[in-house]
């Protein structure tokens, strides 16, 4: 009875707004519905459409590029910054406090801030390009076919590197000093020290941080929706945005549900694979090498 009282409210809320939608997304993917009128069962028609939809295929590609680029940019950068702020000098703690500032801003706030900074006419970046003799800075970053996606990658990094820096800083602080003292006797260089002590000891942090980066950028939506709505053309149209636009702009709720199911399945698969290949020994590896 006590179990029931403790669990029931959570399960009603969670069941109704997380579990039920999962089932409903799958069910809706077999219907044609514009959100207002009658639902019509169409069998696998939406799914057939998906496999012949060049836009969906393209948005899958863009999503893949975004995920890969985000991981490649954010991981080394946050790791380096995390090691930096975990150092002993006093000034680094001050830097660390400022590094966290982007985490206070909402995604909408970050998007609007960068929109004015990157404005090709009156933006702060364009001004620098014009007045400091760096003409390459003076371009339409978010409106250019070749720059838009990379600009988005940078903005996402600006938003999330602070968080991952924090993870790496904490990971570094948990490594016992003993390991470094022993290594110092061996006279190894700082680079060897990083390679042979720090990096292996950070395994758990790397797993957590990478999983969050990959899953997070896989479903990334906010900044792209506010700044480019997938454009110019389809260059920044990621899968989650494609799904949103199919549902709430094209009013094809059935087809959008197909995209939702695809997104959900990829998300779950990626999370499971990452945990599997990297997470098995992560728990015990935390204190490994202590002897």
């Amino acid at each position: 009875m006590a179990d029931f009282v403790g669990f029931a409210p959570t399960m009603v809320l969670y069941g109704g707004l997380i579990l039920l939608p999962i089932g409903l997304a799958v069910a809706l993917s077999f219907y044609s519905w514009n959100g207002i009128g009658k639902m019509r069962y169409v069998g696998g028609a939406n799914w057939a459409q998906f496999f012949h939809d060049p836009i969906a295929g393209h948005s899958l590609e863009v999503t893949g590029v975004l995920v890969l680029a985000s991981w490649l940019v954010q991981t080394p950068l946050s790791m380096a910054l995390g090691m930096f702020v975990a150092g002993r000098q006093r000034y680094r703690a001050v830097y660390a406090a400022f590094y966290l500032l982007p985490l206070l801003l909402s995604t909408a706030g970050i998007a609007l801030m960068w929109q004015s900074l990157l404005d090709p006419n009156f933006g702060g970046i364009a001004w620098l390009g014009e007045h400091l003799g760096m003409p390459f800075l003076h371009q339409n970053w978010l409106g250019g076919n070749s720059t838009a996606l990379w600009t988005i990658v940078f903005l996402i990094a600006w938003q999330f590197v602070p968080f991952h820096t924090l993870l790496y800083q904490m990971g570094r602080k948990q490594i016992p000093d003993v390991l470094y003292e022993a290594a110092a006797l061996d006279g190894i260089t700082p680079w060897q020290q990083f390679l042979h002590i720090t990096l292996p000891q950070l395994r758990y942090t790397i797993v957590v941080s990478s999983t969050l980066i990959v899953v997070g950028s896989l479903t990334y939506f906010d900044i792209i929706y506010i700044l480019t709505v997938g454009g110019p053309g389809y260059t920044t149209r990621v899968l989650s945005l494609d799904m949103y636009l199919e549902a709430f702009t094209n009013l094809s709720f059935g087809y959008a549900s197909v995209l939702a199911v695809v997104l959900g399945v990829i998300g779950i698969a990626v999370a499971l694979v990452l945990v599997r290949i990297t997470g098995f020994s992560s728990m015990e590896s935390q204190r490994e090498g202590m002897a």
Binding site: A2, D3, G6, F7, T10, M11, L13, Y14, L17, I18, L19, I22, L24, L28, L81, F84, V85, R92, Y95, F98, L100, L101, L103, L104, L105, S106, A108, G109, W114, S116, G124, W127, W158, F163, M170, L179, A183, L185, D186, G187, P190, H196, I197, P200, V208, L218, T219, D222, I226, M243, Y244, A247, L263, G264, G267, A271, L272, E288, G289, A291
Partner: protein, 303 residues
């Protein structure tokens, strides 16, 4: 992901080989003059500039007006600064968005913490199979991206008749926060010594009493961490309000900022002022309780 061979690590910890004295001298040398430190300082400072410059630009721009924003140097505080845009946006509805955000965030945090604490307590005191199954279902939710659920969520909220209400946001955001909250809460509550609970039970305390007198007080630190973590996520969420509300009266801050951009268009100083006003509560929190805040921020990374 690079994971080095265990052998390398062992060698690093192995006792020093012959020539110890020479090696120690070299080690000492490394401690004294590392060129790496200078490089680290330079690169660390570059990132500091990357972080602070946009924020500085935003603050400075918010102190202009439509005219001076275009004419003045965007990086130097000369040529007339004013707070007028702040009062403009405040009177243009930012106050309403602000109140909505406070209501939604406050309610969601209370609801999430209460439900996940109650559930975690029942998990460690479980007497039925129902408990185990529920827990498994909730943990499964960790892998579900909420973005994939917006279409069915919209349908359900519509059918429940609570579309375009703050209640819809509170329920949905709490539900999506539950898996992480339960996971963190559970790992904390498991460490509460079982003897304490058993001792209370032997003294005749019922489950409610154990919960209220023992579990809740002992969980205060994790409640603070989790509260900040959940609160930040709810406060900054954009997608759920975008899908589940539409009128100005129910807009929360992130959505309100987006609407401002639509209405004010080129009045950049007004938009920058609105962004800065929306972040004030978080800055105050950050300054007032930095330690807890940092712990809350990294909540998911901690075990």
């Amino acid at each position: 992901m690079s994971v080095s061979a265990p052998g390398l690590r062992l060698r690093a910890c192995a006792p020093a080989r012959p020539g110890l004295a020479a090696r120690m001298r070299r080690a000492g040398h490394h401690l004294r003059a590392r060129p790496g430190r200078a490089v680290a300082f330079v690169l660390g400072t570059v990132w500091l500039v990357v972080v602070l410059a946009p924020i500085y630009f935003m603050v400075l721009s918010s102190l202009r007006n439509e005219g001076t924003y275009i004419t003045a140097n965007p990086w130097v505080p000369t040529g007339g600064l004013t707070f007028s845009e702040y009062s403009t946006v405040f009177h243009a509805g930012l106050g309403t968005y602000f109140v909505n955000s406070v209501i939604v965030t406050g309610s969601s945090v209370v609801l999430t913490l209460t439900l996940s604490l109650a559930m975690s307590f029942r998990v460690i005191r479980r007497t039925s199979r129902f408990a185990g199954w529920s827990l498994r279902l909730v943990i499964f939710g960790l892998a579900i991206p909420i973005q994939a659920l917006i279409v069915p969520l919209y349908v359900i909220i519509l059918k429940l008749g609570i579309y375009d209400t703050l209640l819809a946001l509170i329920l949905t955001l709490s539900a999506s926060a539950i898996p992480v909250a339960v996971l963190i809460m559970l790992s904390f509550i498991r460490d509460i010594p079982r003897e304490l609970i058993d001792a209370m039970a032997v003294d005749g305390a019922g489950e409610w009493r154990i919960f209220g007198r023992l579990i809740v007080p002992l969980s205060r630190p994790v409640l603070a961490t989790l509260g900040i973590y959940t609160g930040l996520n709810v406060w900054n969420n954009f997608l759920i309000p975008l899908v589940l509300t539409q009128s100005n009266g129910t807009a929360v801050l992130p959505l309100g900022l987006y609407k401002f951009q639509g209405e004010y268009g080129i009045d950049v100083p007004a938009i920058m002022a609105a962004v800065l006003l929306s972040v004030i509560p978080l800055v105050v929190l950050y300054v007032a309780m930095r330690r807890q805040f940092v712990r809350g921020l990294s909540g998911v990374g901690l075990r």
